[in-house]
C-alpha cells in the first residue's frame, strides 16, 4: 500500500482509539455508579446459606479487602484494568479476563454469524427491490422481512427447537459432547438470531434507499450512457458503505439478542455470564462484560470508519 493510502486510515484509527478510550472510561464509570447505588450487595452472594448478620456482611467485605467508599473502589478497579487485570469474579473466584475471553469468543461467533445471516437475507432483497422497483416480487419479500423482524427472538428460538425436536427428532441444543455433527447444532442459534434480531427490515429499507439514491445519481446515469458497468460504479457508495454502517449500528441490538438466544440454546457465551453476574451483583464480571461489549460496539464503528476512509480518503480530513 502506498503511504498516501495508509495515512488517512492511520488518522482515522487514532481518532477512533482516542474516542474509544474516552468512551470506555465513561461506560465503566456509569456502569460502576449504577451498580454501586443499585440495591443488593455483591458480597451477600457469599453469605447466602447462612443467617447473614450485619457483622458477617462487613466481615466478608473486610476479608476480601474491599474498601468501603465507591470512588476508591472505582479507582482501584480502573488502575487494575489499565494493567490488564479485570479482577476476579466474586461468585466463582476465577479471573474475569480469562472468563471474558472464553465466553466472548463464543458470543463473537454467534453475533458475527448472525450478522452475516441478516445480511444474507437483507442484501438480495434490498438489491432486487432497488433495481427492479416495486414489483409483484418485492412487495411480498419486503412484507416477509417485516414479519420476521417483528418476531421476538426467544419465541422464535423455542419454535425452532420445537420443530427440530418433534418434526426432525433431533435435539438442537449446543453442547460440547463431541458427537458427530454436533457443531451443526451451533448453526441453529446463529440462524435464529440472524433472522430474529429485529433488524432485518430496517437493514433492507436502508440498503434499498441508499442503493436507490445512488442509482439516481448523475454519475450512474453517465456510466449507464457510456455503457460501463453500473454495478461497478454503484457498489462502493450504494452497498459497501451502507452495509458497514448497518453493521456498526446493529451490533448493540444483536448483542442484546444474543443474551436471550444464549439462554434458550444453552450457548456458553457472554450473555449468559452477564445474566448470572447481574443476579449476583458480581461487579467485576459485570464491569468486564460492559467494557467488552463497548469494545465490540466500537470495533464495529471503527471498521465502518476505516471502510469509509478507504473508499473516500478525503473523509479523514473531516
Amino acid at each position: 500500500m502506498r503511504l498516501s493510502a495508509v495515512k488517512p486510515i492511520a488518522l482515522v484509527m487514532t481518532r477512533e482509539i482516542v474516542i474509544t478510550t474516552l468512551l470506555l472510561l465513561g461506560v465503566s464509570f456509569v456502569v460502576f455508579v449504577i451498580l454501586y447505588f443499585s440495591p443488593g450487595d455483591p458480597f451477600s452472594v457469599l453469605l447466602q446459606g447462612q443467617m447473614a448478620s450485619e457483622e458477617a456482611r462487613m466481615g466478608a467485605r473486610e476479608a476480601l479487602g474491599v474498601s468501603p467508599s465507591w470512588y476508591t473502589q472505582y479507582v482501584s478497579w480502573l488502575v487494575n484494568m489499565f494493567q490488564g487485570n479485570f479482577g476476579t469474579s466474586i461468585r466463582t473466584g476465577l479471573p474475569v479476563l480469562g472468563e471474558l475471553i472464553r465466553t466472548g469468543i463464543n458470543t463473537l461467533y454467534l453475533t458475527v454469524g448472525s450478522l452475516l445471516v441478516t445480511l444474507a437475507i437483507a442484501i438480495p432483497i434490498a438489491l432486487y427491490s432497488s433495481v427492479r422497483g416495486e414489483t409483484v416480487f418485492t412487495w411480498p419479500l419486503t412484507m416477509f422481512a417485516y414479519v420476521i423482524s417483528a418476531l421476538p427472538v426467544f419465541w422464535l428460538g423455542y419454535i425452532f427447537i420445537y420443530f427440530f425436536m418433534h418434526k426432525f427428532n433431533v435435539f438442537p441444543v449446543f453442547s460440547g459432547t463431541g458427537a458427530k455433527f454436533s457443531w451443526l447444532y451451533s448453526l441453529l442459534p446463529i440462524f435464529v438470531l440472524g433472522i430474529g434480531n429485529g433488524t432485518t427490515s430496517e437493514v433492507i429499507r436502508y440498503l434499498r434507499d441508499e442503493m436507490g439514491r445512488v442509482m439516481s445519481e448523475d454519475y450512474i446515469r453517465t456510466a449507464r450512457a457510456k455503457g460501463a458497468s453500473v454495478w461497478k460504479h454503484s457498489f462502493k457508495e450504494g452497498l459497501l458503505i451502507p452495509v458497514t454502517e448497518m453493521i456498526a449500528a446493529k451490533i448493540p441490538f444483536i448483542l442484546g439478542g444474543a443474551v436471550i438466544v444464549e439462554q434458550v440454546f444453552n450457548w456458553p457465551g457472554m450473555g449468559r455470564m452477564a445474566w448470572q453476574a447481574a443476579q449476583d451483583r458480581d461487579f467485576p464480571v459485570i464491569m468486564g462484560i460492559a467494557i467488552l461489549a463497548a469494545v465490540f460496539v466500537r470495533m464495529g464503528s471503527m471498521f465502518q470508519r476505516v471502510v469509509y476512509v478507504v473508499v473516500n480518503p478525503r473523509a479523514s480530513q473531516e
Binding site: L46, Q50, A63, T92, I161, W275
Partner: protein, 539 residues
C-alpha cells in the same frame, strides 16, 4: 420457588457407633461397574470445595468428591465414614473420633504418591473453616466447637463449648486435605483449590470443560469400594424447559430437580423414572407486624381462611406437594400432624374480619377506623417465576373476595431482600424457607431475631413463643424436645404469623437404565457410589 433463604443445622437421632470395614477395591456386590451418568443442573456451581460453596449445585458435587467424619445411611441413621468409631465422654462435651487408616486423598495426574488422610487434615479443616478470613456458611454452624486436638495420626478430639443435642450428626462436615489449599490459613474463592478440589470421596474431579461441564471419574481407591459408575458429568442448563427436553432426547440421563410443569411429560414416558424425595422446605405468605392492621391475629387468620390452598396446589403444581399447618417442614420429626391446616372458608374469614372491627366501605374494601385493608405484597422475581405469579395472583383474588385489596409488587431478588430484611418495607411477602435442619425455627419467630438482616423479618414477637423456643433449644432430651416443638407448632398455627402454604415434592427424573438409585433429600448424591448401570446399557 426453592430459593434458599436459610439453612439451619442438621439434626438426627443419635445412633451408637458401628464399625464396619470395606477394603479399597471393587465393591464385590455383584453389580456391574462401568458407564457414564450425565445429569442436568439448572445453573452453574460457583465453587467446588465444601468450605466456600454455598449453593445446592455445589453442595451436590461436594457430596461426590468429599467425605465427613460421619455420614448417614438411607435410613437417616448416622454411620461411620472417615471415622471408623467414636467415643463421647465428659457428659457430652468431648467427642473423640478414631479415624480410618489407609484412606488416600485423590491423586491428580502427574502428582507424586497419593497422600494418606490423617488427623492433621481434620484439625486443618476445622482451622480453615473458622478462620475469620474464610467466608463460609459453615462458620456459624460450628461455633459450638471449643477446640480440636490431634491425639495421634488417627485419633482426634473435639471439645464442645457446651453439650448439644445430636452433636454427632454435625460432624458430617466435609474434610479437606491440608495439602489442598495453597493458602494454609484460610480459604477464599480465589484459591485454586476452590475450582480443583481434592477429596477422599467416591469421585475425583477430572476437569471442567470449556462449556463448564464438570467431569468426575470413579475413585479406584475409594475406601468403601470403587463406585460402580465410571464417570459423572454435570451439565449446566440456562433454561429448565430445555433441560427437560435434553433428558427426553437422551442428551442427559438425569435431572436432579424437575420443573413441576414438566412432571406430566416425564411421567408419561416409560423410559424414565420419576423419583420423589422430600424437601425440607415450604412456601408461605409472611406478614409484617409493623403494620398495625396485621398485628391483629384475627386478620392474619382471616387471610389464611380466605385462600384455597388445595385448589392452588392442584392447579399450579399438579398436586405435587403437601399443605402444611405450621412452621416445620412436614418431613421433619418436629411437625405436629395433629394440627390440621385451616380449611378454605371465606365466610369464616369475613366473620373474623368483622369480629376484628372491620366494615366494608363503599368501594368494597374492608376498613377500620378510616384505615383500609389495602396492602402491598412483595414478591421476589425468581428464575422460574411462572408458578409463583399464578400463586400470588390467586392470593390477590381470594383476598379480594373478602374485601381486601392487595397490590402485588414483583421485585428483583436482591432489592426484594433489602426491602424485606433491611428496610422492612412491605405488608406481606411471598417466599420459601429451605432447611437442612427440620426442627430449628428459632431464628424465624424469636423476638431476639428482629432487626436488620435477621430472619424474623415480620417483627413477630410473642413471649410464649420465645420461651418455647428457648426451652426447645436448651433441652438435651429428644422426646422432650419433640413435645415442645409440637406445642410450638400448634401455637404458631393459631397465631398465623405466616399463611403457611405447602411443601412441594421434589422430583428427580432419570433414565431407567440407572439402577439402585437412592437419593438423600438434601445432599442428593450421598449414596451415588452404589448406583449402577447394567452392562448392556452402558454404551
Amino acid at each position: 420457588m426453592n430459593r434458599k433463604l436459610l439453612v439451619l443445622l442438621l439434626t438426627l437421632g443419635m445412633i451408637s457407633a458401628v464399625s464396619f470395614s470395606a477394603d479399597a477395591g471393587s465393591k464385590r456386590d455383584g453389580r456391574p461397574d462401568g458407564g457414564t451418568l450425565s445429569y442436568g443442573e439448572y445453573g452453574r456451581p460457583a465453587t467446588l470445595d465444601p468450605v466456600t460453596s454455598n449453593e445446592m449445585i455445589s453442595l451436590r458435587l461436594t457430596e461426590l468428591i468429599f467425605n465427613g467424619l460421619v455420614g448417614i445411611n438411607e435410613k437417616q441413621e448416622i454411620v461411620p465414614e472417615l471415622a471408623k468409631s467414636w467415643k463421647i465422654s465428659d457428659r457430652g462435651r468431648t467427642y473423640t473420633f478414631f479415624l480410618r487408616k489407609n484412606v488416600t486423598w485423590h491423586q491428580k495426574e502427574g502428582a507424586g504418591e497419593a497422600k494418606l488422610f490423617t488427623a492433621g487434615d481434620v484439625v486443618f479443616t476445622h482451622k480453615i473453616m473458622m478462620h475469620p478470613r474464610t467466608i463460609t456458611p459453615l462458620k456459624v454452624r460450628y461455633e459450638f466447637i471449643a477446640s480440636v486436638t490431634k491425639i495421634d495420626d488417627y485419633t482426634v478430639k473435639f471439645t464442645l463449648k457446651r453439650p448439644i443435642l445430636n452433636a454427632l450428626a454435625k460432624f458430617s462436615f466435609k474434610i479437606i486435605p491440608s495439602h489442598g489449599p495453597s493458602n494454609r490459613h484460610f480459604l477464599t474463592r480465589e484459591d485454586p483449590f476452590a475450582q480443583s478440589p481434592i477429596g477422599t470421596g467416591p469421585y475425583i474431579l477430572k476437569n471442567v470443560t470449556a462449556d463448564r461441564e464438570i467431569i468426575l471419574v470413579a475413585n479406584d481407591n475409594y475406601f468403601k469400594g470403587r463406585p460402580h459408575i465410571d464417570k459423572f458429568v454435570a451439565k449446566p442448563f440456562a433454561d429448565q424447559n430445555i433441560m427437560t427436553q435434553a433428558l427426553m432426547f437422551n442428551a442427559i440421563d438425569m435431572i436432579v430437580l424437575v420443573n413441576p410443569r414438566d412432571i406430566p411429560e416425564i411421567q408419561g414416558d416409560k423410559r424414565y423414572v420419576l423419583q420423589p424425595y422430600n424437601a425440607l422446605s415450604y412456601s408461605f405468605f409472611g406478614y409484617n407486624m409493623r403494620n398495625p392492621l396485621l398485628r391483629d391475629k384475627r386478620v392474619r387468620k382471616a387471610f389464611t381462611y380466605a385462600v384455597n390452598r388445595k385448589e392452588m396446589l392442584a392447579s399450579f403444581f399438579n398436586r405435587q406437594g403437601t399443605i402444611i399447618s405450621g412452621p416445620f417442614a412436614p418431613g421433619s420429626w418436629a411437625y405436629n400432624l395433629a394440627v390440621k391446616p385451616f380449611r378454605f372458608n371465606p365466610e369464616k374469614a369475613m366473620a373474623l374480619l368483622k369480629e376484628a372491627g372491620f366494615t366494608k366501605g363503599s368501594d368494597g374494601i374492608m376498613a377500620k377506623g378510616g384505615k383500609k385493608l389495602s396492602l402491598t405484597l412483595k414478591v421476589p422475581i425468581e428464575k422460574e417465576s411462572e408458578a409463583v405469579k399464578r400463586v400470588v395472583l390467586a392470593f390477590k383474588n381470594y383476598l379480594k373476595n373478602i374485601g381486601v385489596a392487595i397490590k402485588v409488587e414483583f421485585k428483583e431478588w436482591q432489592s426484594w431482600k433489602e426491602d424485606v430484611f433491611l428496610e422492612h418495607d412491605f405488608d406481606i411477602i411471598f417466599a420459601s424457607w429451605v432447611f437442612d435442619d427440620s426442627a430449628d425455627i428459632s431464628s424465624l419467630f424469636h423476638s431476639a431475631e428482629i432487626g436488620s438482616w435477621k430472619n424474623n423479618f415480620g417483627g413477630y414477637s410473642n413471649p410464649k413463643v420465645d420461651s418455647l423456643i428457648v426451652e426447645s433449644k436448651l433441652t438435651l432430651d429428644h422426646e422432650k424436645r419433640r413435645t415442645i416443638n409440637r406445642k410450638l407448632h400448634a401455637l404458631l398455627a393459631d397465631e398465623a404469623p405466616y399463611t403457611f402454604l405447602w411443601t412441594l415434592t421434589n422430583y428427580a427424573a432419570y433414565h431407567k437404565k440407572i439402577r439402585h438409585v437412592a437419593i438423600h433429600p438434601y445432599k442428593y448424591f450421598s449414596f451415588a457410589d452404589d448406583w449402577f448401570i447394567p452392562s448392556g446399557s452402558q454404551k
